[in-house]
């Protein structure tokens, strides 16, 4: 009792069924595999400075374009400048994941805020959602091109473009689940108790929308990485010599016929990460679907 009333809201939000989510994920082999793979990728990316065998920027033309899996010293071979691909892959994944995370967080928070406000204050609903529709009508690539044209290419304009492209998607998802929650009696109960709007949104509306927002974010993270890599591939993102998966694939494009590994290894990495996020997102949707839970 003592602990319960004093317990912080965050703990209260996550406690029910949290263990069962992990357990149910573990029961789905594909989801389990995806989670383990992603955990390994994240860990490798975080530890890149310590586990990378070489400096990712060190060039040695005499060792250029070594094929993969032949030399234990250069497991994934080397690129045209003789840089170790494994080291660049680790650093590149780090940057790609960071880019995705920052873009998703920015776009997600903003989008969720817009969606929840639109659902709670129906008077601004039409206006807000029409603005979101306008944003939705531009592809992320176009935002990237436009912003890069203004600021010059780099990682920040890509992140901003991806965030902007994510806002309307999350606004729609959070609005639709918030509209369902708004129909629940406990929202009226909170009003009848005399809570202010902010408290109703923060403690009643938002926590109950989180699972669908979370599921969608997982799926969106994969898409963001893909679009971000595409923008980098087009030369709008991280500039050489920075190691980023999309940039690395772009660099290898010229040697596709005689050293295909330079482009394919980072591309396959992107593919695997995106696939894993999609599998995980699908599994989470099945598990966290409120209709199946309560």
């Amino acid at each position: 009792m003592t602990a319960v009333v004093a317990a912080p809201a965050a703990a209260a939000v996550k406690a029910p069924g949290r263990r069962s989510v992990v357990r149910r994920l573990a029961r789905d082999p594909a989801a389990l595999l995806a989670s383990v793979f992603l955990a390994a990728v994240v860990l490798a990316a975080l530890l890149a400075p310590w586990i990378a065998p070489y400096d990712p920027f060190y060039t040695d033309p005499s060792k250029g374009m070594r094929p993969p899996f032949e030399d234990a010293a250069y497991f994934f071979g080397t690129d045209a400048q003789g840089r170790d691909i494994l080291s660049r892959l680790l650093y590149g994944t780090r940057l790609t994941l960071l880019m995705g995370l920052v873009a998703l967080t920015m776009g997600g928070i903003l989008g969720t805020a817009v969606g929840i406000v639109a659902a709670f204050y129906r008077r601004v609903d039409g206006l807000l959602m029409r603005v979101m529709d306008v944003l939705l009508s531009f592809p992320a690539i176009l935002f990237g091109l436009a912003i890069a044209a203004i600021t010059g290419p780099g990682l920040s304009p890509i992140i901003i473009a991806l965030a902007i492209a994510t806002v309307p998607l999350l606004a729609r998802i959070s609005r639709s689940s918030a509209l369902v929650i708004m129909q629940q009696d406990y929202i009226d109960a909170a009003r009848a108790v005399g809570l202010v709007d902010g408290a109703i949104i923060w403690r009643y509306l938002l926590p109950n929308c989180l699972s669908s927002i979370f599921v969608f974010s997982t799926l969106r993270f994969g898409q963001i990485i893909l679009i971000g890599a595409a923008l980098s591939f087009l030369g709008l993102g991280a500039q050489p010599p920075t190691a980023e998966l999309g940039t690395m694939a772009a660099n290898g494009r010229d040697f596709l016929f005689f050293a295909p590994h330079i482009a394919t290894i980072p591309s396959l990495t992107i593919f695997a990460i995106v696939l894993a996020f999609n599998v995980l997102g699908d599994a989470l949707r099945d598990i966290l679907d409120p209709r199946l839970r309560y």
């Binding site: 009792m1 003592t2 602990a3 319960v4 009333v5 317990a7 209260a12 939000v13 406690a15 029910p16 629940q184 009696d185 406990y186 009226d188 109960a189 909170a190 009003r191 009848a192 108790v193 005399g194 809570l195 202010v196 403690r203 009643y204 926590p207 109950n208 309560y294």
Partner: protein, 366 residues
């Protein structure tokens, strides 16, 4: 007579129906609540009965200003709640609470029961710290739950238990009026009795007034002091319980009462007095709204809307011919339903045993 705790005066709620996407214009209005007036006296239970969609729940929500009115007044303790600003309204909410129909939708699944009950206490700064915890425990005990339940989440409880939690939440700030919006409709019959009895005990203990919205006439007969019958957004008859069940004057009330099932094959069944569906509140019938289904309909009913008039002291009816229409046999039969002495004895024995079991359960809980 005690002064009214709740006074509803010519309350109207129309939900606009719009069409058009770009330029939306109002094409009509659903007249959910159309000019109703009633009072709830201090310490009494006024039941509001009627079919689904007749505006009962809308009335309940208007009374608490969970919905905005179209016109009319709602006074609680002499204060017009629609004239209050947001701040004052929030303060006033201490006096008026609500119990919902669906115990599965009325509790936030992400909050522990302890937090649910602490919420009103915190909002109205009734208690904090140790006193708050003690009050939460007390509330749980009052509704027949145990203090350790405070740490659990709503989905760990049964429907009846959840409804008790809803009741405890409503009680938390010692309100004077509780709107019970079909509090037992979603529960099993055996649990219904428990919850109804709990509500009655609490009323006696704390001097609560209830606006009891229901469609189950047996429950209403058990709990209410006075009954208002609603049909299509209007109150058609309002009187005390005894008069209503013995001498209903409005044909709609008579039809409702005839339809109560009685576990006695000797009693004639009264189904089929009214046929068809409730007309659309979007376009209610002219004159008396019941004329499309009334067995006693006459020309005057189609043209002229009957006034809600005093038939006798404390008995109001909205029917032109209230004096002339006889109470049908099917209603009368229900009043004097003959149950055999043997059956009555068995029933009494069963009830004593039930009561004893209930006490035993309560003792183990406390």
């Amino acid at each position: 007579m005690a002064p009214p705790i709740l006074k509803v005066d010519r309350l109207v709620k129309h939900f606009p129906v719009t069409s058009g996407i770009v330029i939306s214009k109002q094409v009509g209005a659903v007249k959910a609540v159309d000019d109703i007036s009633f009072e709830v006296r201090s310490g009494e239970t006024l039941a509001l009965v009627g079919e689904s969609g007749c505006g009962k729940s809308t009335t309940g929500r208007l009374v608490l200003r969970l919905l905005e009115r179209t016109s009319g007044h709602v006074e609680i303790d002499g204060v017009d709640i629609f004239s209050l600003d947001r701040q004052a309204l929030r303060k006033k909410r201490r006096d008026m609470q609500i119990i919902f129909q669906d115990p599965y939708a009325s509790l936030n699944p992400r909050m522990t029961v302890g937090d649910v009950l602490a919420e009103p206490l915190r909002v109205h700064e009734v208690a904090s710290g140790r006193a708050l915890r003690e009050r939460v425990e007390e509330l749980l005990r009052v509704v027949g739950l145990a203090p350790y339940h405070a740490g659990r989440y709503p989905h760990e409880f049964s429907g009846g238990q959840r409804q008790r939690i809803g009741i405890a939440r409503a009680l938390a700030v010692n309100p004077r009026l509780i709107v019970c919006d079909e509090p037992v409709s979603a529960l099993d019959v055996s649990i219904q009795a428990q919850v109804v009895n709990l509500l009655q005990d609490l009323q006696a203990k704390y001097g609560l007034s209830y606006l009891f919205i229901a469609h189950d006439l047996a429950v209403v007969k058990h709990i209410s002091d006075r009954v208002a019958v609603m049909y299509l957004g209007k109150i058609v008859e309002l009187t005390d319980k005894t008069t209503l069940y013995a001498n209903p004057r409005h044909p709609y009330t008579q039809a409702l009462l005839s339809a109560i099932p009685v576990a006695d094959p000797a009693v004639p069944h009264g189904r089929g007095i009214i046929q068809g569906d409730v007309p659309s509140p979007l376009n209610p019938p002219s004159g008396c709204r019941f004329h499309t289904r009334c067995p006693h309909v006459q020309d005057r009913c189609k043209a002229e809307e009957p006034a809600f008039r005093d038939l006798a002291p404390g008995h109001q009816v909205a029917c032109h011919f209230a004096e002339e229409i006889a109470v049908p046999d099917t209603v009368r039969a229900r009043q004097s339903s003959q149950i055999s002495d043997a059956y009555r004895r068995r029933l009494a024995a069963y009830e004593t045993k039930q009561a004893r079991r209930q006490t035993a359960v309560e003792e183990t809980i406390s």
